[in-house]
């Protein structure tokens, strides 16, 4: 009896690696500490009412960003482990199998569980406020999206200590991801973690498209909408058309593994190439999904901190929409070497090069916005100026990669690694940081310390160039990706060492940011934003107090201009302007609901059951999901009105009684 439990446990839990025992201990200690703190300070009720059941878009956004930071830590540790292993030739720091797992989880976590939630967090934080709306179109679904993402992310991360991590690369190419070559449960964790969070992503895409199309403040025509909201629309269009492809592809892979199908196997009429073809139909739009909102953030920041209208608003809108559609026409450039023939490669090489045109248009728009502007270099603008040169270099190496014949040389080399890290760190991560620093005061009511922020910025930037510039050279020297080690006679060690040092600097930069946030919370009284408009902003989110009240706008704004809040400030300074006291009316708001977190919990159980083929867990899990849906369908108590008295009270305490 005892022996069989022992055997089962040594199979079920990952054993044998000191790193993993450390993680086991850390997870248990953290959980115990959280439970203890919540119980000791009697915060369970507060946590449940204010956070776990909330449907407020701002709080959902904060939870998204917090999760993204946690995931950035995990993915970053993976990156540092890899760079440590590669710092010198013939190191024995990580075993080859473990190395495979680490580069796989690094990729999956950074794209799907770091960039995506960070992006959704910024959507949630900013879009309804920019549009002059009181929440997203479907607040319940918004909370559900978050919890599904969270359940998926936790399921994926669990593979580290239970069952074993996936190790077939971040896109899990068959045949290696098939049952025959990969019989462990790692790939199943991969499939279900992504599937569950993917449902959430798809729903967020729908939610924000409807929000943007239907909930804009009166008078805000589409062509007067802030640029970040435009970029969100472009990104969400790509989400709703590309995520179903990912879901279908992974469902087919699941059928192969679970049901013995032969979609992507080498025998039985299957074809692994089809998987590569399908996954990149999602994979390519995906990179534009995450970078377009970053472009939107840069547009807002450049215009605000140059104190000028955005140069070429219309061309920017068209560029975004064209990129979002063109992103569906380039996927084959990820597998030029697959051998589809010269015509296919020529078409996809050209369509890839075409995308550089609208992207170039945007870069010039940002530069011309800065031209003769009164620029100030607070954190958001600093990240934007760091982004432009970085992204231009990354974009140009991308054009080099798009030349199909030359790609046979670059393919799967460190040149490619350097390229996509440059556009994703330089574009996406820098962009989200700019957005986070920009909207931070609106979210929390205080500014972050600029000095620590500058340290973080320079460590990130110097670390970045030190880490990835050598990798271009290494790639041209023939170093391929996913290489666990290399010999002394290759002549790669110097550049690899520099690269690893750069990675370490980025790790320090992340610590600076954590310190910056902790410091900000500790000293928030001395950095309070009492005006609600700390950056002299241009869009509607800066017209309300910081932090924003939970109904956002006491009175829905009437919009007549692009950059409405800026124009309104000009109007107020003119002589003869008389303030009209706004007429308040009760505000219609959605109720909190515990169903999203419970439904996501049921999905988590069902996913865990699917991973281990435990029918006894799959059935109750899925039944729970169905029950949650049923319960919500018959819930008619979904909304309430905030009475005028309460609004007056809240506004008076936020703005000071004099202003109302």
């Amino acid at each position: 009896m005892l022996e069989s439990i022992k055997n089962w446990a040594s199979d079920f839990f990952v054993t044998g690696d000191p790193l993993i025992y450390g993680a086991d201990a850390a997870i248990i200690i953290t959980l115990v500490a959280i439970v203890f703190v919540l119980t000791y300070f009697k915060k369970w009720g507060w946590l449940w009412r204010n956070w776990l059941t909330t449907v407020d878009h701002k709080k959902v956004g904060i939870m998204y960003i917090l999760s993204a930071f946690l995931m950035m830590f995990r993915g970053g540790v993976d990156a540092l482990l890899m760079r440590t292993q590669l710092a010198m030739p013939e190191l024995q720091f990580l075993q080859p199998d473990h190395y495979n797992e680490i580069f796989t989880t690094h990729g999956v976590i950074m794209i799907l569980f770091m960039a995506m939630p960070f992006m959704f967090g910024l959507f949630n934080v900013a879009v309804p406020l920019q549009l002059g709306a009181r929440d997203v179109a479907y607040p319940f679904m918004n909370a559900l999206s978050f919890w599904l993402f969270f359940a998926g992310a936790m399921l994926f991360n669990l593979s580290f200590v239970i069952g074993g991590s996936p190790d077939a690369g971040w896109l899990a190419y068959p045949p290696y991801s098939e049952l025959m070559y990969n019989p462990g449960v790692g790939q199943d964790f991969y499939i279900w973690g992504i599937q569950i969070s993917g449902i959430g992503s798809l729903m967020t895409g729908i939610n924000f498209i409807v929000t943007i199309l239907k909930l804009r403040a009166p008078g805000m025509k589409l062509m007067k909408m802030p640029m970040f909201s435009w970029s969100v629309l472009a990104s969400c269009i790509a989400i709703i058309f590309s995520f179903p492809i990912l879901t279908a592809t992974l469902a087919l892979l699941f059928l192969d593994r679970y049901g013995g199908a032969h979609f992507f196997t080498l025998d039985g009429g299957g074809n692994p190439m089809m998987y590569i073809n399908l996954i990149w139909m999602w994979g390519h739009p995906e990179v534009y999904i995450i970078v377009l909102p970053a472009f939107g953030i840069f547009s807002e920041v450049v215009s605000t901190f140059s104190r000028k209208k955005l140069f070429g608003y219309k061309s920017m809108v068209y560029a975004m929409m064209i990129i979002s559609i063109l992103s569906f026409l380039v996927w084959a450039h990820h597998f030029f070497t697959m051998g589809s023939g010269a015509n296919v490669n020529a078409f996809f090489a050209l369509s890839t090069m075409v995308i550089a045109i609208p992207t170039g248009v945007k870069v010039f728009n940002w530069l011309f916005t800065m031209f003769r502007g009164r620029i100030s270099f607070e954190s958001p603008m600093l990240w934007t100026t760091g982004f432009i040169p970085c992204f231009v270099i990354g974009g140009m190496t991308g054009v080099l990669l798009s030349v199909a014949p030359a790609d046979f040389q670059y393919h799967n080399s460190y040149f490619l690694i350097a390229h996509f890290h440059q556009v994703i760190i330089g574009g996406v991560v820098f962009g989200y940081f700019a957005g986070l620093y920009y909207w931070w005061p609106k979210l929390f009511g205080f500014k972050l310390n600029e000095r620590i922020g500058k340290w973080a910025f320079w460590f990130w930037n110097i670390g970045f160039y030190l880490c990835f510039m050598p990798q271009y050279v290494l790639g041209l020297d023939g170093m391929t990706r996913r290489l666990v080690t290399y010999s002394w006679d290759k002549g790669w060690w110097g550049l690899n060492l520099v690269s690893s040092i750069g990675a370490g600097l980025m790790g320090i930069a992340f610590l600076f940011q954590v310190w910056q946030i902790v410091h900000g919370i500790k000293h928030y009284r001395s950095n309070m934003d009492t005006t609600g408009d700390p950056w002299d902003g241009r869009t509607l989110e800066w017209s309300i107090p910081s932090p924003a009240p939970h109904y956002n706008f006491a009175v829905l704004p009437q919009v007549s201009d692009q950059d409405e809040w800026w124009e309104e400030k000009q109007r107020r300074q003119k002589e003869g302007y008389t303030a009209v006291a706004p007429e308040l009316s009760p505000i219609h708001m959605p109720n909190n609901s515990g169903i999203p977190i419970m439904m996501a919990g049921c999905w988590f159980l069902a996913g865990f059951g699917f991973v281990f083929h435990w029918l006894w867990l799959i059935i109750p899990g899925l039944a729970g999901v169905a029950l949650c849906m049923l319960a919500h369908s018959f819930n008619y108590d979904t909304d309430h009105y905030i009475p005028v008295e309460d609004i007056k009270h809240t506004e008076a305490s936020l703005r000071g009684a004099a202003n109302l």
Partner: protein, 106 residues
Amino acid sequence: MESVHTEQESHVGSFYSYTIGFICSIVLTVIPVAIVLGGWLEGMTRAVVLMVAGVLQLLVQLLFFMHLREEGKPRYNLISLILGLVILIVIVAGSMWIMMFNMVAQ
């Protein structure tokens, strides 16, 4: 949020249009079933008739039950449907083209 609720109220079809839609969809279901069960047509002709019936069925659903015609301007549903179709065609045709790999070289 109020505006969303009020606009949804207007999407109600008439008894007449529902009846037409119902009859059309029944006819379009009976034809393929009859062809398959009765073994009426052969090979290519059969495939084409089945597919055409399927596409017409889709249109009937969209026009009579999904209220595509009654949508007020701007016609977001129609636009997104067309965009979806374009992307679908790109995906299917593109995949077929790509997956004929090495046939060009041979």
